[in-house]
């Protein structure tokens, strides 16, 4: 399958965003960032990129789900992944309402949080159901023991990272709702990491093909989002904001890669 025509513009856009945000992290006092690419400009640029990626990902997610028949075990998982990106689109739009329309900082918790939480749950369910569908497909070669060992290793690593990241969040306190949300986001990332790693293991056997490209992009996006979530939760708690630009890049890259992966699945199943 030929590479999509959209790839070159996407790579150029990604490089430009990377240069803008990482440049700001490295030289925050440069006149370019004080006078031209100000914090407000970066807020708009970042927000528009995130919302666009999420909306496009959701759109193609629903189209992919529709390509599988109602009896196909892949249909519901793709619907769950489409719900994930649809609800996150709504969440991002809520953030845009505060940032662009009301021109104020986003409160926490906000009306966006139910969308994020519901989207996370849909993502975890989608990954888990797709894992089940792929394992039962007969194309998932390899021993069950191998998958169990990989799942165990990833779960152990997730527990370790979870302890390091979540313990200080618990001790930092806050209202019960703030605490619950601060714990929920990185925790759900770590939970989703296990089926995501196993999906990567299955599709790695298809490397070189289009299906592998779908999952390399989708799971690469998931990892970028997870890194952004963990950094955000940890550094916000420590009141460290020097790498906020890096966190922004993580989210933009995460949403962009996920959307591109779903678009690739749309091309594969077309």
């Amino acid at each position: 399958m030929k590479r999509a025509a959209i790839d070159l513009p996407l790579v150029l856009l990604g490089a430009a965003l990377l240069a803008i945000f990482i440049g700001q992290a490295l030289w925050p006092d440069a006149s370019l960032y004080r006078d031209v690419i100000t914090a407000t400009v970066r807020l708009y640029v970042g927000g528009v990129c995130k919302l666009s990626a999420l909306v496009l990902g959701a759109y193609y997610g629903w189209r992919v789900a529709a390509r599988f028949s109602p009896k196909n075990p892949s249909r519901r998982p793709w619907q769950a992944l489409a719900v994930w990106l649809s609800t996150w689109s709504a969440g991002q739009a809520c953030l845009g309402w505060y940032q662009w329309i009301l021109a104020e900082s986003t409160p926490f918790p906000s009306v966006a949080d139910p969308f994020w939480v519901f989207g996370y749950l849909s993502m975890v369910v989608g990954f888990a159901l797709l894992l089940r569908a792929y394992v039962s497909s007969g194309l998932a070669f390899g021993s069950g023991r191998g998958y169990a060992v990989l799942g165990g290793l990833v779960a152990s690593a997730a527990l370790l990272v979870g302890y390091v990241v979540l313990a200080p969040i618990v001790s930092a306190g806050g209202t019960p709702l703030e605490l619950a949300l601060n714990l929920a986001y990185p925790l759900l990332d770590l939970v989703a990491l296990v089926p995501a790693a196993l999906l990567m293991r299955i599709t790695f056997q298809l490397r070189g093909g289009s299906v592998f490209r779908v999952w390399a992009l989708l799971l690469g996006g998931f990892v970028a989002m997870a890194v952004g979530d963990v950094l955000y939760a940890y550094l916000t708690m420590l009141d460290v904001h020097a790498v906020d630009a890096v966190i922004d890049v993580s989210f933009i890259a995460g949403y962009g890669l996920a959307a591109r992966g779903i678009y690739e699945q749309h091309r594969v199943s077309a």
Binding site: R67, F68, S69, N72, P73, S74, A133, Y134, S136, S137, G138, L139, F141, Q205, L206, R207, G208, G209, V211, F212, V268, S269, A270
Partner: protein, 63 residues
């Protein structure tokens, strides 16, 4: 479809590359069809199967 997976299915079916008959091809397609359905959907699976049959001379392009 990745070659390693196809070779795995060929081994399961006891097929060797030099001696794949039309019946063997159909058996192989039957074996990979459920997997293809899950990964790429029913429509794409049908077109992949058709491409394989055409490539092997088991089906004409117009049919």
């Amino acid at each position: 479809m990745a070659g390693a997976l196809l070779r795995g299915h060929c081994e399961k079916l006891g097929l060797r590359e030099a001696e794949v008959s039309p019946a063997d091809t159909e058996a192989l397609l039957d074996a990979i069809r459920p997997g293809l359905h899950v990964f790429v959907g029913e429509d794409r699976t049908a077109s992949v199967e058709r491409e394989i049959r055409i490539a092997l001379g088991l089906q004409r392009r117009s049919t």
